[in-house]
Structure formats: structure tokens, C-alpha cells
Amino acid sequence: MANLRKIFSKIYNQYIDKIYRFIFLKVNSQEVAQDLTSETFLRGWESFKNGNKIENPQAFLYQIARNLVTDHYREKGRTQVVSAEYVPIVDPREDLEGKAMLRSDINTIRLALANLAEDYQNVIIWHYLDDLPIPEVAVLLNRSEQATRVLLSRALAALRQKINSA
């Protein structure tokens, strides 16, 4: 059991930031993102300690996270509302001007991203934010590498259009 805990502890450390950010970009609330992220890891741990073989922890955790986000919006017919108000960021810069510019840039891109189709959001987050290579993104999307490249190209075009029209 101690060994399982140790292994899952490493998985937790490796993916907590990515899963939190993935969920936050979809639910737009720090509180909800924290709830769904802890639920993601709790379900992952329950499954892992019960002896289920997890070949790809990353794909496994993202799948749980996606399901939880879908359930979140399905519950009581919630719709995705994106607020431009508050983005909790960890920013090492100390000057206020730099911080304000960064926050403004983050808000612009976040709002544009949140208005894209789910697959477009996912492919952009996984490839450009998480730095996953195309073959790994293809596995997460359950598509061929070629189809993933096409999707990524379309997603970027759609994002650019959103930003330009903002």
C-alpha cells in the first residue's frame, strides 16, 4: 500500500498543475476547479489502489477530468459562462504594469479559448500549454496523428479569428 501511495504521489505531483489548469480554463472558477481537480485525483487514486492497471496516467486523469467537467455543466443545465473578472495567476514579476499587461493578455486569450469548441480547446491546451507532442495528443483525442494535426491547425485558426474579432 505504501508503495502504491508513493507511485500515485509522483503521479499527483506530475499532473496536478496541468489538470487544474485544464479544468480551470473550462469552468472559469477557482473554487469549482479546485473541487473538480481533487475529485479527479480522488477517483484516480481509488481506481489505482483497487488494483486497476493504469497504463497511461495522463490519459486516464484527463479522461476523468473531462467527464467531471461535462457532468458539472450537465447538472442543473448549467451553461458555460466566462467571466473576465478574475484569473488567479502565479506571477513572479513585481512591477504592477507588467502584471497588468500579463493579466490582460491572459484574459484575452482565455476568453477567446473558452469560446471555442471543446476539441479545439483540448488540442490547444495539450499541445501548446502542456507541450505534449502530436502523437500523445492524438492518443488523448483518440484520433490519428494526421487528424490531430488538422484539428490543431483549425483550432489555431479559430482562436486567431476570435482574438481578431474581440
Binding site: 505504501a2 501511495r5 500515485f8 504521489s9 499527483y12 505531483n13 496536478i16 498543475d17 487544474y20 489548469r21 480551470f24 480554463l25 476547479a33 479546485q34 481537480t37 481533487s38 485525483f41 480522488l42 487514486w45 484569473v87 488567479p88 495567476i89 502565479v90 506571477d91 513572479p92 514579476r93 513585481e94 512591477d95 507588467g98 500579463l102 493578455d105 491572459i106 484575452t108 486569450i109 482565455r110 479559448l113 490547444i124 491546451i125 501548446y128 500549454l129 502542456d130 507541450d131 505534449l132 507532442p133 489555431l156 482562436l159 486567431r160 482574438i163 481578431n164
Partner: protein, 230 residues
């Protein structure tokens, strides 16, 4: 019309969205319970524990394997712990150059094996850059030892060269804006400081040149000029 490179740069800024570290720790404890701690002897500090572990593991795996390991490799953990152990003995003023040196090592890893462990290496590089920027923004360059400035200049120049090499291999490593901003702050402070002093004609010219380089965004060159003429 926003260009693709600019768009990707903006997307990457979303990496600043991170969970609260206290929440991360508490959640882990709630899910997995308290991790067992081992105490070998009194006053056993985590930093020293890391060093002891490194010595043991170096003995087991051999220095060569550890030295050549990359982020994402099993043995890289040992290398990282060794770096963290070294960081304990680095003074605040020397931390920016130390972090830049680590960032340079990551870029050198990428030039050696661009396809290997790309994502973790880039992530590690960016963490070093972020830490370098953070520590750089804390130092007062106007009163710093010239040797400290020299090291920062050397590592920054090396970083620019390594970055070019890596990018020529088609690897996108993301921006170093945080570092640029921190360097801009340092150079800006030095220029302001020089303006308050009585300067010789020669030093006046150097100040003018530094201002030109500052305006052109060539902060490392401005810093180098300052250091050379110290």
C-alpha cells in the same frame, strides 16, 4: 492580424494559471494521507537529506549516467536533487547566474538530443528561467559585486546562443519574457543610478550607449557594457 508565433506566445502565457500551493499540498494529504517521514538523526534537514541521497545514488548508478540524464529520465531526479543541494549554498546575489546556468544546461540537453524528453526538458528550462527572473529582480545591481554582474552577463549571452541553436533545430521552447523584464529592470536601475553620479566624458558616452541599447531592448548587451567598464 495576429501572427502564429505571437498567438502561440500568448497561449503559453496561460501557464501562469496555477493552483495555490497550499491547496495542492492539502489536497494531496487529504487524498493520500500523510506521507511517512524518516528521521535518521537529529537536525536532519531536507536539503542535506537530498545531498546524502545523491551520494548514495551516485554510488549505485555511477556519475556518468546521472550526469547525462535528461528531465523525464529516472536518474534525472538525482541530478535535480544535486542541483537543489548546490542551490542551498549559493548566495542570494549569485542565484540568478546559478539558475541561468541550469537553464543553459537544459538547452544544451536539447541540442544534444532534441527529440528526447522534449516536454519535461522545456518545462524544466522554463522553471529555471522563471526562478532566474525572480531572483534577478531581487538583487540591487548598483551595489552588486562586479563578479556577480559578470556571471549574469556570461550566462545570459550563453543562453541567447543556446536558444538560437535549439530553435534552429526546430524546437519551440517558448518565450523568455520574464527574464527580459527582469534584465530590463536591472539595466534601468543601473542607468538611473549612473545619471545621479558625476561622470567623466568617457563614462557619459558609455551611459548614452547603454541608454541606446536599453531603448533597443538589448538589455544583456547594455549590462555587458556596464560590466566591461566597471
Amino acid at each position: 492580424m495576429i501572427k502564429e508565433k505571437e498567438l502561440i506566445g500568448k497561449i503559453r502565457k496561460l501557464r501562469q494559471i496555477q493552483p495555490n500551493r497550499d491547496w495542492v499540498f492539502l489536497t494531496k494529504t487529504q487524498i493520500l494521507g500523510q506521507e511517512p517521514r524518516f528521521t535518521f538523526f537529529p537536525y536532519f534537514k531536507p536539503a542535506f537529506a537530498g545531498l546524502v541521497t545523491v551520494f548514495i545514488l551516485l554510488g549505485v548508478f555511477g556519475y556518468g549516467f546521472v550526469k547525462n540524464s535528461l528531465p523525464g529520465d529516472l536518474l534525472y531526479v538525482i541530478k535535480k536533487v544535486a542541483h537543489e543541494g548546490q542551490a542551498v549554498f549559493v548566495s542570494e546575489n549569485e542565484k540568478p547566474a546559478f539558475q541561468l546556468k541550469l537553464a543553459n544546461q537544459r538547452l544544451e540537453d536539447l541540442t544534444k538530443a532534441p527529440a528526447k524528453n522534449l516536454a519535461p526538458t522545456i518545462s524544466e528550462f522554463q522553471a529555471n528561467i522563471s526562478e532566474a527572473a525572480k531572483t534577478l529582480s531581487k538583487i540591487d545591481a548598483t551595489t552588486s559585486n562586479p563578479a556577480v554582474i559578470k556571471k549574469i552577463v556570461e550566462e545570459t549571452k550563453k543562453l541567447e546562443e543556446n536558444k538560437e541553436k535549439v530553435e534552429s533545430l526546430g524546437v519551440v521552447i517558448g518565450g523568455t519574457e520574464e527574464l527580459e523584464n527582469a534584465l530590463a529592470k536591472v539595466v534601468g536601475n543601473l542607468i538611473e543610478d549612473l545619471k545621479t553620479r558625476t561622470l567623466t566624458e568617457e563614462k557619459e558616452k558609455i551611459l548614452e550607449k547603454m541608454e541606446e541599447l536599453f531603448q533597443a531592448g538589448k538589455y544583456s548587451e547594455a549590462l555587458e557594457l556596464y560590466w566591461i567598464n566597471q
